[in-house]
Symmetry: C2
Subunit: 239 residues, 2 copies
C-alpha cells in the first residue's frame, strides 16, 4: 500500500457515499441527471465520497458543484440506503464492477435530491452526464433505480413544505407550474381551480412580459417572490 493510498483511506469514511438525484424541469417534463460510465456502458446517478471532517450535506453540495458547476443548488436529504455485501455480489452491478474498479457499490448511501433550474446546468464533463426524462430512465447500476423512485416519492411528500418551485426557470407560465405539480403528483388539476389556488398564496408575481413561441396564445410570465413563498411553505401549501 502506497503512502498516498493510505492517506486517502484515512481522509474519507469507508463504505459510504452520497448519491444524488438531480431533478430538472424542461419542456413540461421532469428530468433527472445521469452519469454514463466511460468504458463500462453503464449508467448511474452521480455520487461522491464523504470526508471524515465533513458534514454529509456538504459532501453532497461539493459533489453537485463538481458535476454541474452550480454552487447554490437546493439539496434535500431524503433517505439512506443499505446494500448488504451478499446482495450485490451477483447480476449487472457485479459484472460492471468487475470491468471497472470504480463501480463497486458502497454499503451505505445517503440519498439526496437536488432541484435545479435546468437552463443553468452546464454538466462539466461533456457527453458523460446527460439529462433523462423520468419515463425513459435506463437500467441503472447498484440500487439506483430504487433511489430515483424513492426520490420522486419524497418530492411528492415534500411538495407542501419545501421550495419545489425552484425547479422552474426564473420566468415561467402558470401552465408550466401546473404541469410541474401534475408531473410530481401524477394527477391532473382543473386549470381554473389550480390557478386560483396558486394565486391565493400571494407568492407569484405577474410580469409585464408574455411568453412568445409556437403556441396559439401568448401566456403571461410569472416569477416567484421567494420570501413570500418561504412563509407560505411554513404553513404548508395545499393543493
Amino acid at each position: 500500500m502506497t503512502q498516498k493510498h493510505h492517506a486517502r483511506q484515512e481522509e474519507y469514511i469507508a463504505d459510504i457515499t452520497v448519491d444524488c438525484v438531480m431533478f430538472g424541469f424542461h419542456d413540461f417534463q421532469l428530468k433527472v441527471l445521469l452519469l454514463k460510465w466511460p468504458g463500462a456502458n453503464a449508467w448511474s446517478l452521480p455520487r461522491g465520497p464523504v470526508r471524515r471532517s465533513q458534514l454529509i450535506t456538504d459532501a453532497a453540495i461539493s459533489m453537485l458543484h463538481t458535476t454541474t458547476g452550480l454552487d447554490d443548488v437546493f439539496v434535500q436529504q431524503f433517505q439512506t440506503f443499505s446494500r448488504p455485501e451478499e446482495r450485490w455480489r451477483s447480476g449487472r452491478t457485479h459484472e460492471a464492477a468487475a470491468s471497472h474498479p470504480h463501480l463497486t457499490p458502497s454499503l451505505i448511501s445517503v440519498g439526496f435530491y437536488a432541484l435545479v433550474d435546468f437552463d443553468r446546468v452546464k454538466p462539466s464533463v461533456e457527453g458523460t452526464f446527460q439529462w433523462c426524462e423520468m419515463a425513459d430512465v435506463p437500467e441503472l447500476l447498484f440500487d439506483h433505480h430504487d433511489v430515483v423512485e424513492s426520490a420522486l416519492l419524497a418530492l411528492r411528500k415534500d411538495l407542501r413544505y419545501l421550495p419545489i418551485a425552484k425547479l422552474l426557470p426564473g420566468k415561467f407560465t402558470l401552465r408550466e407550474m401546473q404541469k410541474l405539480y401534475e408531473t410530481i403528483l401524477n394527477r391532473e388539476f382543473d386549470r381554473r381551480n389550480f390557478h386560483k389556488l396558486l394565486m391565493s398564496y400571494d407568492f407569484l408575481r405577474k410580469l409585464p412580459e408574455k411568453k412568445t413561441g409556437s403556441q396559439n396564445k401568448s401566456p403571461h410570465l410569472y416569477t416567484i417572490d421567494f420570501d413570500k413563498y418561504e412563509s407560505a411553505l411554513q404553513d404548508g401549501i395545499s393543493y
Copy 2:
C-alpha cells in the same frame, strides 16, 4: 490486536450506528425512551451497530428488540446525521467518551423513530432504560438532542401518511387520540370537530366497553381497524 477484535471489525461497518428515538404515549403524554450510561452519569438514545451483511432497517429492529423485548415495532427511518471528527472533540460528549470507551460518537448515524404501545414495553435492563416526557428530556450525549427534535418534526410531517396511531394502546378514548394529535402537532383542536373528522374516516371501531377511572364521565373506548386505517393513510389523513 486479538483475532476476536479483528473479526468484529470485519463484521460491522465502521463509523456508522443506527440511533433510535422510541416514542411512547402514556397518561396523555408523549414520551421517549432514554438510556442511562452506567458509570458515566450521562444519557443518550439507544443505538446499535450495523453489520456489513445487514440492511440498516434490520439493524434498527434488532437493536429495538434487544432494548424492549418487542419484535413487531413500527420503525421509520427519518434522517441521517453526520458528526465530523473535529466537532465532537470538545465539550460534554468528549469528557464522557474519555471516561467511558463505549461513548465515542459514530461519524454517521442513521436516525430511526419507533412507535410503541407504551404498556407493552418491558425495558430489558432494569433501571438503565427509562421513559422520559418530551418536555423533560435531559442533556443528551452526541447530537442526540437534535436527533430527538428532528424525530418529532418527522413524526409531525408523517402524521398524514404513516400509522402514528400505533402509539395508542389497544383500546383508547377519543380524547386520548385527540391529545396524541395535539401533542405531536403542538396545537389544539376543537373537540367536536376533531371527533367528527376522525369518525369520517371509518377506521375507528366503537367498543361496547367504557373507560372507568377517576374522571367524571366514563367515555367510550375505541379500537382501530388497521386495514381501513392503512387505506385511509394511502390518500393521506387531513386534520
